[in-house]
Amino acid sequence: MTSRMRDHRMPALLLSLVLSAFFCASLGAEEAREKEKKSVVQAVVGATVLPVSGPMVRRGTVTWKDGKILEVAAELAAPEGARVHDAKGLYVCPGFVAVVAMGVGIETSSGNIGNGLDPWDRELTIALANGITTMQVLPAPFFGGFGQDGPLYGGSNSAVIKLTKGNLGEMLVKEPALNYFSLPTRQLELNYFLLRERFKQAKAYLAKRAEAREKKATPPKLSSSLKLYVAVLENTRPTIFSPVNNHEVKIVLSLSREYGFDAVLNEPKDAWMMAADLAAANVPVLVKSRGPDFDFNTTGPLFEKGQMAPVRRPAAFSRAGCQVSILPYRRGISLSGLAGRDLATLHVDAAFAVRGGMSNEDALKAITLNPARTLRVDDRLGSLEKGKDADLLILSGHPLDYRSFVLKAFINGKLYYDREKSRIYREIPLTGDK
């Protein structure tokens, strides 16, 4: 019985050896092909190029090689041997950057988010098909549930990822991307008192550590509960707050001034009233351009907070000189059927900001360069400039036109989405085809 089993095993073992050899070989070939592709110059020609960092370029050409942009110019012929993408009559702009996104490209939210990335995630593909090439993700849910330190909900489990579909190797850009606090509105004063106490302790720790370093002594032990606050004060990444009222905004501003860290305000409700203060303090804001949803309150005031319609708020911040990033209506991709209310239409949320008084240029910036700046990845992302990552879109129309579709999306110079080959919008005709 045993010998017969052994006999059976031999061919199986051989087969698996042969198969794995075959796969290794084919993988090698794949890699070689990939490398070859990489060093080829690619060019988009004849497009209306919106580089975001500069003025619109008509009949523009964008060239790139090895994942980096070489040139953005008008009427430039593609170099010899380049792979050319004809984009006559089409638009080209940088890939969109989404902040505080949730549930996209993540397989699991337990542990460090960077360890749970899923390059085959369906929602990732949908976001990519709608122009988002970079995303700052948080584990869901953002609000509450992260009670690391009593009532002070906070953490830094976040990452900047690229939506390189099917390619895990190039997904992670930065981790942790930022620190965040979401303090319960109840006992607000107490919570900020506790927060300030932690910052005091963190400051004391940093002083001790500096002292030890000077003396070349062993640095003092950092307790796990203080890690987050030390990270905030070290200011190697921004810290996001979600203030519910202007009182809270003022506290955050004073904390950031006092302890010298960069604060970012997420949906600061009626803080448009103090937009000038935020601009002076260099505090970026993340705002929605619509809402509120599901409002049954027929006896309430016209708007939830203050008297400014949400559609006007991004423009109000922008006019005051704030760095504005537009948030989508929902932070993830929803397949419930409600259209135009999630990350799949981030560009339309930017269009609503235009409705409220922003210029097309500023609104496009608010979903590209501004969020890249806020996330401190603008050295690589957010605009079409020489030396930056070749993350760009070829669109059927202006990126803020609600009818526009992404035809091709490149990340690190490689084609990750092609409308003609994708099933996502196969049943939907382009405007010109109707």
């Binding site: 049954f296 016209l302 400014m308 006007r312 059927g337 409220g356 919008y425 939907i428 109707k434």
Partner: protein, 418 residues
């Protein structure tokens, strides 16, 4: 000194009285006549007129002057509204709205033909004000879908100083919810489709018999006068097709029973007022019966089988519903975003002119109101909205909304609401 002061006061008073000279009056007592000079007048039914003039008097559209002379001046008594560079569009018609007042569901009984929304209406509430800023001038305010028969809805204008000024028609329509939400009641009769269908059929049958009995009496075909039943009274108009039944029905399975029970069996005037999920697969059957579909608030379906998006309004259109419109189910989608729902339908495949007609003239026809609202034509209600540009483009916004010839929202006088 004293003299001086009184002179000053007199001058100030004079100045103020000039400044405060009413361009229009809230109560409509003063200016009732407008000359709106375009711009692009989008009539919906008769194409677009560039650079024309739209005359409004006594709450109605008097006429459209297609090519006014270069030195054209508004006739005496008409106030000029300069809309050059703007788009002039008919007010939008919403067939699925819950924002005119609160209290949508009373869930003791499964069928409530005696209920009505008329008494709940709160004129000039904040949600209606936002709807005006989105160009919505007519709304069918219907009960919720908490029970199989939520009661009778009211057809109103979104502006007006009181109910009498807002009211277009009561009953506006009956609301029937065939499945989904009514199941939330749970536990008792009507928890499943068999129970729900029995409840709906039974109530309608009762109404039909009641209607027939009164018809016979009024036609002198019987000597037995029926007994008045307030609970069933509004069924008479329903079975005489004076108003439609708007149906919370969605998906192939449910729409199939809508067609069988409500249309084929009961012979009612039916409007499908959700029509979502895979309901569009029945489009040829729905089209054959001449039933209008107002698709929403869901505007797409993620098709697992094909791995992609399907635009629902577009699929209804492709299947034969050439008049398809959209709804918001406000406040599920905010009322002011009705035209944004249409824009999303366009993004997902529908033609722009079809999408616009779907929330104007076709929506009006679905209510039997096409003679009064839904397009810019002489004789129709002056429900006129001036936009900065194409209303389907989310970058464009409403400048001025006029309802029944009265200005209800004006961004030159107040901040932009949407």
């Amino acid at each position: 000194m004293q003299m001086n002061r009184s002179w000053k006061a007199a001058i100030l008073l004079l100045a103020v009285s000039f400044l405060a000279r009413p361009i229009y009056c809230e109560d409509g007592a003063a200016a009732q006549r407008w000359a709106i000079r375009g711009g692009k007048i989008v009539t919906v039914t008769k194409g677009a007129v560039e650079g024309g003039v739209l005359l409004v008097s006594d709450g109605r559209i008097e006429k459209i002057i297609a090519a006014p002379a270069s030195d054209w001046k508004p006739p005496k008594g008409y106030q000029l509204i300069d809309a050059s560079g703007r788009w002039i569009v008919p007010g939008f018609v919403e067939l699925h709205s819950h924002i005119a007042g609160g209290d949508l569901n009373d869930m003791v009984y499964s069928v409530n033909p005696g209920f009505r929304t008329l008494d709940n209406i709160m004129p000039r509430n904040a949600l209606l004000k936002r709807a005006l800023a989105g160009g919505v001038t007519t709304a069918l305010f219907i009960p919720g879908s908490g029970t199989n028969m939520g009661g009778f809805g009211t057809l109103i204008k979104t502006a007006g100083k009181d109910l009498s000024e807002m009211l277009i028609r009561f009953p506006g329509a009956l609301k029937i919810a065939q499945g989904g939400n009514p199941e939330r009641r749970g536990g008792d009769l009507g928890y499943s489709r068999v129970g729900m269908n029995w409840l709906i059929r039974n109530a309608l049958k009762e109404g039909q018999l009641y209607t027939k009995a009164w018809d016979a009496w009024e036609a002198d075909k019987t000597k037995k006068k029926p007994v008045k039943n307030p609970r069933l009274e509004m069924f008479r108009g329903l079975f005489h097709k004076e108003y439609p039944v708007v149906v919370h029905t969605q998906g192939y399975h449910l729409i199939l029973s809508t067609l069988r029970i409500l249309h084929d069996e009961m012979g009612l005037w039916v409007v499908i007022d959700h029509g979502t999920f895979d309901g569009f697969e029945l489009a040829p059957e729905v089209a054959k019966r001449g039933i209008q579909v107002m698709n929403g608030p869901r505007e797409f379906r993620w098709d697992n089988r094909r791995g992609g998006f399907r635009g629902l309004a577009y699929e209804w259109y492709r299947g034969g519903i050439k008049t398809v419109g959209v709804n918001t189910d406000a406040p599920v989608v905010p009322a002011e975003e009705l035209v944004y729902q249409a824009a999303m339908a366009v993004r997902l495949g529908l033609k722009e002119d079809v999408a616009l007609a779907g929330i104007t003239i076709h929506a009006a026809r679905a209510l039997g109101m096409e003679k009064r609202i839904g397009s810019l034509e002489a004789g129709k209600d002056a429900d006129i909205v001036i936009w900065t540009g194409d209303p389907l483009d989310p970058r464009q916004s409403v400048v001025l909304t006029m309802v029944n010839g009265k200005i209800a929202y004006d961004t030159s006088k107040e901040p932009q609401r949407f």
